[in-house]
Every structure is written in C-alpha cells, then in structure tokens.
C-alpha cells in the first residue's frame, strides 16, 4: 500500500506516542493505560477509515469516561501519579480531535510532556536513552510535518542533528542552571524507591529463611588500594540489649560524651561512598571511620549517622582505618555490654566453664569458643530451623544450624556469661568488585552480623564467629544470582586469577553497572549542594555568580555553534562536482576559466579549441560529467571512470 506523506507522518507520530507512554504501564493503573491505548488504536485505524472516528458527541462521552477513570483511579489530586495520568488521558482524547495543524502541534507538545514525566518515576541511563530516542522520533515528525519535501528518513537525520547540536547547550544548562532544594512538602513521594534494609533490632530465632536481595545498598570507590576482603566490614547499627530472643540498641545514649577518643595507626583508606536511598539515616562506613564530612556524625557506637534526608541518594568522602584502639570502656558501656536477660542456665554455665578451662584471659576464651564452633559440627545455613523458645540454648546444644545473626548472638551471649563485655554489630560485609569501574558494590544480600568484645589495652575488637564456621562467607563475595533461586548460598571465586576468567556476560554486566554508577554519581546526584560545591571551584559561589556563569556559558556556546555552522560550506559538493572542479583547476594554466554562467558543454567546446590535442579526453570528461551530473542513469563505474580521466588529464 502506498501511503501519502501525510499518512506516513501520522503513523510515525502515533507509533512514537505509543512508545512514549509505554514505560508508564509499569506504574500507572492498567485501566488508564488501557483507555489510552484504545484511543490510540482508534486513531490509528482512523488513518485509513476516517469514518470510524468518533463524532463530537462520542468524543464528549469519551471525555466524561476519561474524567470518570481519573476520579475512580484516585491517587491524590497532587502528585506525580495524578498529574501523569491527567496528561496521558488528555493526550489520548486529543488524538481523536485531530483536525488542523494546530492540533498536531498540541499533541506533539503534550507527548513531549508525557515523555518528560518518565523522569518523575525513573532516572536511570536506560530510561534517559529511551526517552531521548522517542523524543527524536517526535522531533522528526515535527520536522516532516513542517517540510514538504522531507522524507521521514531525512527528517530523522535532521532531528538527530538538531539533538546533537542542542547537546552543548544542554550541558551548559545542566551545569549552570541554578538548582533549588526540593521543598520539604515534596510534590511526589518516592516511597517505592526506599527499600527496607537493616532493621533496628535482631531476632535470629524467629527467622527461618533469610531473604537474599540483590538490591544495591551502596557503592564504594577507593582512592588507592582496596582493603583485603577480611577487612571489608561496613558498620551499621550496634545491638547491646537482649531479652534472650531479640537484640536491640541500648536505651542509654548519654555516655557518648565520656567516651574515649579512638586512636588510629597507619594511613587508613580513603574512599567515596555512594549511598542509595534508605529509610534509616545510617551510613555504612568501613570499620572504623576516622574522617567524615559535615552532615554526618559518629554515634557512640562508632556508627555514622546522617542528619539529612536518607531518602535521597548521597555521596560522602570518608576515611577509615582498620587499625584502631577505642581506648577505655565507660561505665555505661560496661553495664550495657555485660547485660544478660537473666541468670544463664546450668548448661550454658557448664559450657563456659568447660571452655575457659581455668584460664581467665578473654583472648583464650574467645579462641576456645571459636574452636568450639569449628569443631562441634556447627554449620552455616540461610534456612535455619525456627527457635522461638530459648533460641541461644537450642542453637548451641541442639540445632547447630544458623546464619551470621545466630552465631553473633550466641557468641556475644557466651562472652557476657564469661564477664567479657561484648555486643552485636550489624552492617554489611564484603561487596562485589566491579573491575570496569573499580568500585565495590554492596547489596542487601551482603548484610551481616558480627560481634565486638572489649579487651583491655585494645578497646573494642571485632570478632566474627561466622568466619570461624564459614570463612568463605567473609572472604568471597556472595553470588547473589546463583543463590537466589534455591536458597542455597554460593560464592564468587575469591582468587583474582579465577575471577579474571569470568565470562563475557559477567564482564558486560560489570561494565553496565559501572555505567550506572557513573550516571548516578555524576548526573542524578548533581543536586543543589553538589552544584554549589562544584561551581564554587570556579568562583561562582552564589546565585548571581551562577547566573553569570550560565549567561557567559550560553553566549560562548552560541558563538561557537554559530561559527561552526557558518564555517561549513553552504552545501556539500558532490564527488562529481569536486572532480570537475579539479579538471577546471588543471585548465587554469592555459587561462581557460569556466565562467559561472557558462555551461559545461560550452566550456568543453572552448577547451577543445585551445587544446586540440586533448579533444578526445575533454570530450569524454564533459560527456561523463553531463551523464553524472545531469543524467538519470549514471553508474558507479561512470564515476570511477570520470575520476580516473580527470586524474589522468594533464592539460
């Protein structure tokens, strides 16, 4: 079927609109999207059967239906869902009322708005690329509608050229346009972006299956060398109080001011931490943070807490030092970290006495207990049996199955029974190294719990009982993809040589994650604070400076673009003309100049008079030029021959 230019443009427009609305299917009610696509298909059929298009009354009824749908699918009057739905329904209805050129423009502008609303839901690089692509199709439709001759292929080319030309201006606007902090009463809530992570309590006995989520928690890029895997402990909430089953933070936080200052040995690790949106204000620093920027503060449990909204992606420059000494123990700390839910049972006392074996040194007891875990057939599993009643005892003497929380809880409990101050630390352990971007990715599946004991002269010391049972849990990154389906846990190989052999799929996956990291870090994360910080490097500290920078930037880009556009020849010279110009150039030494109003045939005849010896060549060149430039069925061979003849022509 041969379609007229107009129809092809319409088909293109409708397809582009269909593609633009597509990603909204993921988060808007199906009824609304269904209604929209019904209207779109109706319009699509209407291209060929205009009689099927609804009349005015029906359009009115459809409009009422749309309003009804908006009302019933109520998600609030203000907010991104409500707004986006309104635009989508309006776009669908407007499609049925396509009479004049003005309608088409309105539709295209509406479609651009709908395309922009995508970014209220998703800001990833894929969505950005997709939206850009669909927008270029829309732009091409706009071009095709305004230009009589342009084919859609040409229009697409023009559209991409336009987008490319707009790029420098986009960059200038992105960097310099003043950004304002989103108001506290946010226009839309990004609830779904915030996922549950670590909680502020721990109850190992009540969990029979530990979920393995591949969801990203944070990414770390080290300046300098990476810490070895056994030092990659990312500190989160610390639990000191237990009722025998549940572990929670201490209620007494007033001791912070009496806390000894930790001392650090060595240089420590400098790194950038990019936190994904969280519910809790916890920032997971490498054990133990020594330097941290302003919005963060250190809790008495050496955990970093942000004072800003944790629901926003945030980046911090931190320094941590694994060699530390926290100094003396405060009274509150001692009280908290030796608290027991009641007198321990005989069995436990017996075990402690047996393990102590008359040696009172805490180090000795710790070693004995870890050995006990190692030798007494304890195993690491993600699907432990339920232990509602006396979980620690049952775990120690009956089941012997558990994951990190079980071991940490049991270890701390036994320490306390032996009068050694101890507490449970939760957080993340390990992380997968992205070789392309050189950063660590830490996911929910890397969540971990370990223990800390206070030793004289050394302060709080980390002991990870899990490492005693399952050292691979600590030394190797968890292979989330493999672990997810069957609940069993598997690890990525720790050996660098083996890791280098990972297949192409994994490599490209890492490459993609690296792209995503860069995107999040540099594009999405560029908010008002980062902008202010970045621009202050160039002396643009305040709004006025930014506006000046913006104006200067725009003027410079506009001048450069203008110069570039003007520098280009008005139209491209075809290879045929270029060769012919070479021919004319060769004739200049005989004072044979082709006048601008002179035809090639006339010129050729003139040349033949001056250069009778060259008559044949000149005739052939002229004839071929006429065929190539003015003829209709010139072949590539003709061009080749023409070029060769011109090249051989000596004049």
């Amino acid at each position: 079927m041969i379609l007229s230019q107009h129809k092809i443009s319409l088909v293109f427009l409708l397809v582009a609109i269909g593609l633009i609305a597509l990603p909204h299917c993921a988060h808007l009610p199906a009824v609304i999207m269904g209604f929209f696509y019904v209207l779109l298909s109706w319009r699509f059929i209407g291209i060929w059967k205009p009689a099927y298009l609804p009349k005015q009354i029906l359009v009115f009824v459809l409009m009422l239906t749309g309003i009804g749908l908006l009302a019933t699918q109520y998600q609030g009057v203000v907010g991104r869902e409500a707004g986006t739905k309104l635009f989508i329904v309006a776009l669908g209805l407007k499609l049925l009322e396509l009479k004049s050129a003005r309608d088409i423009y309105l539709i295209i502008y509406l479609a651009f708005i709908v395309a922009a609303t995508q970014f209220l839901f998703q800001q990833g690089p894929i969505m950005a690329g997709y939206t850009l692509f669909v927008s270029s199709v829309l732009l091409a439709t706009l071009i095709a509608l305004n230009s009589q001759q342009a084919t859609l292929k040409k229009a697409l080319k023009t559209a991409s050229t336009l987008l490319l030309q707009a790029l420098p201006m986009t960059v200038i606007l992105f960097v310099f346009f003043p950004r304002f902090e989103a108001p506290k009463w946010k226009l839309f809530e990004d609830k779904e972006q915030v996922k549950s992570g670590l909680t502020d309590s721990m109850e190992p006995g009540s969990i029979s299956e530990l979920g393995m989520s591949a969801e990203l928690v944070f990414r770390v890029k080290f300046i300098g060398p990476l810490p070895p895997p056994e030092q990659r402990y990312w500190r989160g909430p610390v639990f000191t109080f237990t009722d025998g089953k549940t572990w929670t933070a201490s209620h007494d936080l007033r001791f912070g001011r009496y806390l000894d200052d930790p001392t650090f040995n060595g240089d420590g690790y400098q790194y950038t931490l990019l936190m994904e949106p969280q519910q809790k204000p916890w920032v997971f620093a490498l054990d133990l943070p020594s330097e941290f920027p302003v919005p963060l503060r250190l809790s008495p449990y050496y955990q970093l807490i942000t004072t800003e909204n944790p629901g926003k992606r945030a980046e911090y420059k931190l320094t941590s030092n694994p060699e530390y000494n926290t100094g003396f123990l405060t009274k509150t700390e001692f009280k908290d970290s030796t608290q027991l839910p009641g007198p321990p049972s005989d069995k436990i006392n017996q075990l402690v006495t047996q393990l102590q074996a008359g040696d009172d040194h805490p180090e000795h007891f710790i070693q004995q207990l870890l050995n006990h875990f190692r030798t007494e057939h304890f195993s690491y599993t993600l699907t432990p049996p339920l232990m509602e009643d006396r979980p620690i005892e049952r775990f120690l003497f009956e089941t012997h199955y558990g994951f990190c929380s079980h071991y940490a809880a049991a270890f701390v409990y036994l320490m306390r029974v032996a009068h050694i101050p101890a507490r449970v630390v939760t957080g993340y352990q390990g992380g997968e190294l992205n070789k392309v971007g050189g950063f660590l990715e830490v996911r929910q599946a890397d969540a971990h719990a370990w223990a800390e004991v206070w030793l004289d002269q050394r302060g709080w010391v980390r002991v990870d009982p899990t490492a005693a049972i399952a050292p691979e849990r600590v030394e190797q990154p968890i292979n989330v993809e493999q672990a997810l389906p069957n609940g069993a846990i598997s690890y990525l190989p720790a050996n660098e040589a083996v890791q280098n052999k990972v297949n192409l799929v994994q490599q490209s996956e890492q490459l993609w994650k690296s792209v995503d990291y860069t995107w999040q870090r540099w594009i999405i994360n560029y908010d008002n604070q980062h902008q202010a910080k970045f621009l202050s490097n160039f002396g643009m500290a305040n709004l006025k400076g930014m506006m000046n920078g913006l104006s200067v930037g725009i003027i410079i880009v506009a001048l450069l673009m203008g110069a570039w556009v003007l520098r280009q020849p008005p139209d491209k010279v075809s290879p045929v003309l270029r060769s012919y110009q070479r021919f004319c150039k060769k004739l200049r030494k005989y004072h044979l100049l082709k006048a601008s109003n002179e035809g090639v045939k006339e010129f050729g005849e003139r040349v033949m008079i001056t250069l009778p010896a060259q008559t044949d060549t000149v005739e052939q060149i002229t004839r071929l030029f006429i065929k190539l430039h003015y003829g209709k069925d010139a072949t590539a061979e003709d061009l080749k021959r023409f070029k060769r003849l011109v090249g051989e022509f000596k004049g």
């Binding site: 109003n597 035809g599 090639v600 005849e605 033949m608 003015y630 003829g631 209709k632």
Partner: protein, 314 residues
C-alpha cells in the same frame, strides 16, 4: 570550423529522423538554420509559435515548408480587421435538404494553421483563436469539437508600431511557447536567394520527411526527456532572477517556467540527448522568455542577455 561536442552515442533511432527534415528546410529558407530548429523544437514541445517580423522575410515560407515536410494538413488564415470568430472556427449553417443545422468546420480544423498577421484582427477574433490553441478543442453552441492532432499554430505578427494593428496583450502572448524573429538574411544567403529558383516551386516539390505519426511519437519521447535537480535549480534561478531584477517590469510566471523546461526538453531531444543540460535552457531562453518579459521589445536576445550573463549554472 568550430569543434563541437559530438552527440552522445545513443541507440535511439528517433534522433536521426529530424536531421533530413532540418536539412531540407535549410535548403528552402536560407541562412536561418537556428530559427528553423527553434520552430521544430516548439512543435516537438507541443507549443505554438509566434513569428514576429516585418513582411517579406519568409514567415509564411517557413510555416509552409514545415507543413510540407511534416506532411500536415495545412491552412492559412489571413487575419484582417473585420474577421469574425466564425470565420476561423466554423459555423452551423441551415441545410435545407435535411432541414437541420450542420456544422461546417472552419479553417482552424487543420493540423498546422498559419494565423497570418494575427495583430491585424480585433481582440474578439484573436481570443477565439487563442482559446482553441490552449484547449485543442472548439466549443460552439454547446457542442465541443476536438481539433486534429498534432495541432500546431504558427501566428505571424507585424511589429506593433505599424499602422492598423491590435497588439496582443501579455496574457495572450503567454499562450505562445516561443516567439522568434526571422530577421533579414545574411548577405550570402540573400544572394543565393535572389539567384535561386522560386520558393513556391521549391516548396511544392518538397517530399514528406517526417510523417505525423512519427511526430506524435517524438512528442511523447520529448516529454520523457530527463530533467535533473541541477537543471531545475538553474531554471528556478532564472525565474527568481527575473522576479527580483530591476531589469524587468514583472518576472516570469510559473507557466513560463514550465514552458522553458518543455522547450529545453525538445531542444535536448534535437541535440540527440535524453537529458536536459543548462545549455538547452540557454538555447531556448530568448525564444521562450523574450515575449513574456517585455512584450513591446523585439530583440529577445537583448532582453534575456542579463539572465544569461548573471545567472550561475549549477
């Protein structure tokens, strides 16, 4: 002799059919080969020709020769100040035998019509002819009569400053594809003419060189001659030039542009090419554009000289 670019070797046999015709015509009308070629070009482009010159330079001879060589039905209409449309078109006359009106076709119902001294007739008679030229049909008393094909009008016109003329208005001049002036012959040509035998006997003995069926075929082929984008650019540049240049009171119309292209196609065909090149446009420009640009002036070449000099060839 000036070297010329020989025609591209081409297997179209039609190209060679025009040569004997032109040669034969050149033997009758001496020293006017370019004008004869233009006249044939006009015929091939399905246009009508206006010859404007003083009496006695061979206007009638040219048209008569063409008619003879092409084997066309030929009729000459002498326009006078009292000629009526029915004298040209024909009239319905009562037939007493059948008791009905029968249509008697006028002299226009011929393949080649020479409208001699068209500017001597009144505008009423002129317009009757010009309408027929445009439509190739005649409508009388509600009935439409088709004119024969090919249909070609050669109108001659005395310079308008002569006494007793009604100069054709611009709109009607536009109907003629070309206007040519024959001009006085060269010295040598005139001497030959004076020495030679009577033109009348020469014309009477002329054999048909190009039968009408072949002419129709050629006309079809001429319409198919390829016009490339650069040539269209050149054509449009010429149109734009006439519309913006202070040399001309008004520019060329779109119809003039079409006429220019059609004539150039026919010229390219006569040059034995299947594509138009800018030289073809230059060759016919004076004949096609001269009368459209400045009706009163007769030196078409002088009229189009600024165009040829200033419009660059793409």
């Amino acid at each position: 002799m000036m070297p010329t670019l020989s025609p591209t070797p081409n297997n179209n046999p039609m190209y060679n059919e025009t040569t004997p015709l032109l040669n034969a015509a050149n033997e009758v009308i001496l020293g006017k080969s370019h004008k004869i070629k233009l006249a044939l070009c006009c015929l091939l482009a399905r246009g009508h020709l206006l010859i404007e010159d003083v009496p006695g330079v061979g206007k009638t001879t040219l048209s008569h020769t063409l008619a003879k060589l092409l084997g066309l039905q030929y009729q000459r209409i002498q326009f006078t100040s009292d000629i009526l449309p029915s004298d040209i078109l024909g009239a319905s006359i009562f037939d007493p035998k059948n008791l009905s009106f029968t249509f008697h076709p006028g002299p226009l119902f011929n393949q080649l019509v020479l409208a001699d001294e068209i500017n001597r007739a009144t505008p009423k008679a002129q317009s009757a002819l010009l309408e027929a030229m445009e439509e190739h049909t005649i409508t009388l008393e509600g009935k439409t009569y088709a004119l024969p094909e090919p249909f070609f009008v050669i109108a001659t016109q005395n310079p308008s400053h002569q006494i007793g003329t009604f100069p054709l208005p611009e709109s009607q001049l536009d109907r003629f594809l070309m206007r040519i002036e024959l001009g006085y012959p060269h010295h040598e040509a005139e001497r030959l003419l004076l020495k030679g035998q009577s033109r009348h006997s020469l014309i009477a003995n002329l054999p048909v060189q190009l039968p009408p069926e072949l002419l129709l075929q050629m006309q079809t082929q001429v319409a198919q001659v390829f016009v490339s984008e650069p040539v269209l650019d050149y054509c449009q540049a010429i149109l734009d030039f006439t519309r913006t240049s202070p040399d001309y009171p008004y520019g060329l119309s779109p119809r003039a542009g079409l006429a220019l292209l059609n004539a150039a196609k026919a010229w390219a065909f006569l040059e034995q090419r299947d594509t138009v090149i800018p030289e073809d446009i230059k060759a016919v420009l004076a004949a096609v554009a001269g009368h459209r640009l400045r009706a009163g002036n007769h030196d078409s070449f002088a009229i189009v000289a600024p165009i040829l000099a200033q419009v660059a060839i793409p």
